[in-house]
Amino acid sequence: MIPKVMTNAQLEAAYDVISEGIDAAGAEKQTLFLAKLAFALANLVGDSGQVAEAVEASLRDL
């Protein structure tokens, strides 16, 4: 289980800003945008184990 690190308000703000990012990227480029975003966040997290955990959690229930 991924620990909850952010407050609800922070999660909501992240939800909004990513939603708007997807819209700004446009339908054609949204996958590229999301891959870049995930990679940049992985670098900011700075922990390969946590990145692997997030990948695994995100693959569930697609």
Binding site: I2, L11, E20
Partner: protein
Amino acid sequence: MHLPESEPRSSIYYRYDVHPFRRPPEMSGQASDAAAVVVGAGPIGLVSAINLARFGVRCIVLEQELQVSHGSRALALTRRSMEILQQAGVAAPFLAKGLQWNTGRTFFRGKEVYEMLLPHDPDDRFQPMLNLQQQYIEQYLVEAAQAHPLIDVRWGQKLVGLDQDAEHVTLRVDTPEGEYDLVTDWLVAADGGRSAVRQMMGLRMEGRAYAGGFVIMDIRADLDLPTERLCFFDPDWNPGANVLVHREPEGIWRLDYRVPEGETAEQALEPERAAARIDRILEMVGQKVPWELDWATVYSASTLTLANYVHGRVAFVGDAAHLLPIFGVRGANTGLQDCENLAWKLALVTQGRAPRSLLESYSTERVRAAREICEEAGKSTRFMTPPTQGYRIMRDAVLSFTLSEDFPKDLLHWRTSRPHAYSDSALNSFAAQDGQFAGGIRPGETISNMRLGSDDFLFDHLATGFQLLFFAGALPPRGAAAEMLKVAADMQPRVNRVVIADTPSDWTGLADFVVIDAGGRIARKYAAHDGAGYLVRPDLHVCARWQRFTEAELRHALGVACGTAMEGAI
């Protein structure tokens, strides 16, 4: 000539009374002596009238129809709304008929992914929510209004024109027997979402309307489910949308779902299509029982408000002032807080006991509340009906996560309507001393109810008007405290003195109601030391509090709350 529908509306469970039109005295040349006219006998107009009458203001209610709401519409009343109805003296039939509840459950791909438990404190008399159809809400309010000697409910009378000058408002009213003019001092516009008053005055609301409609259908069905709010995301027959199920009194169930993309409202309401979907929903809740349809309609979500609720001698309340999404039950619940805020102020102004400027605080406080609600409810609306592809993908990502992860689950919370805090209100005073309190109820917030016995609560004992909660603690009913309470009895407007003491003593002549707080539980909740006081407005919002205070300070705070004294100018 206004000819309202005179046949009772049809319903499989509610019997509509058709109220008679009565020719008003103004049509025979008599002048009216009502200080205020309320347009609209919806829930908000009726509670406005009942509250004005409670404060001694004679008023007339104009209603274009001869009967109450068509369909169940505003279904869920919050605890705060029940408290407002209790103060208005009308809560009993609501409790007898309504269904109280506190749990919401959210399902995704057949699995329960989120349980929302609305907080319920043992010190609260009412549960977080009470479900009751709008026909009953209005019926109970009509009964109370018609029984009040200061209220004249006029059925089948439609406002068709209005004109105001510095002194009066002149209303043009159309009736089954023709038109007449009605002159009054104040107009309360409670004429709903399509407000005729708003249109006649050329006022526009600001904010946004969301695309996409929702179907609401009320069915009678013998479902074996508790009173909860059920929410299903992404059902296979309506991908990407959601379905809500609510229990109503009389064996009725509310089904609510997004109109599928590419479908019009008319198509969504086609009987065969609707019937097939009702069956699918019943399948989804696991109980394919027979059903009968009562009422169906389509609505859409908006977050719109007027920028100002008071224009000259006209004050807007309820849907006439703002249109809010029903997610989080904003409609009627927000309106009830409007009329609770307006009534005491308008009463003081009409009685010449407060300046007209007091009404500006109604507008400032409630417009701010509406804007805050628009912001919050906008978030729920964006989750329920993602406005763009980006929001849609993020919503689906969160739903997918909820099947295995907990961290994003609170994004499914429903952000229920709650009392707004008037923290920055011009009616609050002594803010500089507020640091003396380590907690408690801050100026602008509503006071907390307290359990006094098994079926006995603080709010059961509040009289109409301002309240002074005086925390005597161990102080005796003598000396400075007694002097202050004696003087408070003669202040204007009236201050109801509630003394909260550790042990029984003789407070006769000093208190209107005495509470024995043996363990100091109430004092702790209010963070009050012996000798502390809370001055509470008639709508139960705190306007000043002190750990120690003088008669002059109390008088000053009362003046600030009534707009007759300036904050700081003591």
